[in-house]
């Protein structure tokens, strides 16, 4: 097993963590911020974890929590902004910018973004982090059976969204 030295951890795990973070939140700069924050949390640990594999799981768990916070914040801000801009001409500008932002994302990413967060995380960890059900369960703190159900439901919903082209 590789020793999880500081530079080694950073260089080895950054690409995969970025990939996961991007699929979680669908926003490049936010994904980079989340990755940075996860690594800072890791380096703040009093003791490094013994190997890269455990470090990866630990970082993915942190990443998932950070992305969840981002998701909640996004939802709160979106609701507040919609209330504020309902009768304002800013609404039109906001709508336009949202459309532009959505256009830059791929169809698949937009479909992923429409999945409920608990289904999206499981599917992303399966398809983009290449984790088995047991490891996904460990990372998310759920049972293997639950992972199995969520993966299936996520696939069903995603296929419907993509078949209908959203």
């Amino acid at each position: 097993m590789l020793h999880a030295g500081t530079a080694n951890v950073y260089e080895s795990l950054y690409p995969i963590l970025f990939r996961i973070a991007y699929r979680f939140c669908g926003d490049r700069s936010k994904a980079e911020d989340i990755c940075q924050e996860a690594f800072i949390k890791y380096f703040e640990r009093a003791e490094p974890l013994p190997d890269l594999e455990q470090t990866k799981y630990w970082l993915i768990r942190v990443l998932r929590n950070l992305a969840l916070n981002h998701e909640k914040k996004k939802s709160r801000e979106s609701k507040a902004y919609q209330r504020f801009a309902r009768d304002s001409r800013l609404y039109a500008e906001s709508g336009e910018s949202e459309v532009l932002q959505a256009e830059t994302r791929s169809l698949v990413q937009r479909a992923l973004d429409r999945l409920p967060y608990n289904l999206r995380t499981v599917l992303v960890l399966k398809e983009y982090a290449d984790l088995g059900y047991r490891d996904i369960g460990r990372v998310l703190g759920i049972s293997e059976g639950n992972v199995k159900v969520r993966v299936f439901r996520a696939r069903e919903r995603l296929a419907k969204l993509l078949d209908g082209e959203l």
């Binding site: 950054y14 940075q36 380096f43 640990r45 009093a46 990413q109 398809e127 059900y133 299936f152 995603l158």
Partner: protein, 181 residues
């Protein structure tokens, strides 16, 4: 085993597709797929979905920003800043104080034996100690270690139920001396 005519549930097929189904069931599903066009179509759909997810372009990973020359040093636990809601802290504080008081009361009730010393007119001293049953053994040990002879009377609670274990010393001595009188 899965019958040839009975299709596996969608969840099972999905986990089989991920290689998460154990050996005997894995083989059974493979066999089933040979004769079931509906399940083959479902698997083909899963394959298409996976290919689409894998083929979706990802923004190029930029070079990770270089690590700062001096990484943040681990902050000791006692120096970390905590952001806690005030009502929760107040409630926790009250709970800790209450628990401390309760423990202190409990401790004074159980561990401190009641004691009284009375001096008789003939120069004798009467010492009464009320100790909990838990400490009785310790009390007996300490008394048995005394070298000087004292008269010790142990008064047990009225509701004590004593069970005789073994043979009393007097009876044994009487048995031993039988026939010698």
């Amino acid at each position: 085993m899965i019958e040839r005519t009975r299709c596996p549930a969608g969840e099972t097929l999905s986990s089989w597709f991920d290689g998460e189904v154990g050996a005997p069931w894995h083989r059974a599903i493979e066999t089933h797929l040979v004769g079931c066009p509906r399940c083959r179509a479902a698997v083909a759909r899963l394959e298409r979905l996976r290919e689409r997810l894998a083929g979706d372009p990802l923004p190029a990973v930029r070079e990770p920003p270089p690590l700062p020359a001096a990484l943040p040093r681990p902050v000791p636990l006692w120096r970390r800043r905590l952001a806690l809601p005030l009502p929760a802290v107040a409630a926790a504080g009250l709970a800790i104080v209450g628990l401390g008081l309760a423990l202190a009361l409990q401790a004074t009730r159980t561990t401190l034996p009641w004691m009284s010393i009375k001096r008789g007119p003939t120069g004798t001293t009467e010492l009464k100690v009320a100790a909990p049953v838990d400490d009785l053994e310790q009390l007996l040990n300490s008394l048995s270690q005394q070298t000087r002879t004292r008269e010790i009377v142990i008064q047990l609670p009225a509701d004590s139920q004593l069970i005789l274990v073994g043979q009393p010393q007097l009876m044994r001595e009487a048995d031993f001396s039988r026939g010698q009188r």
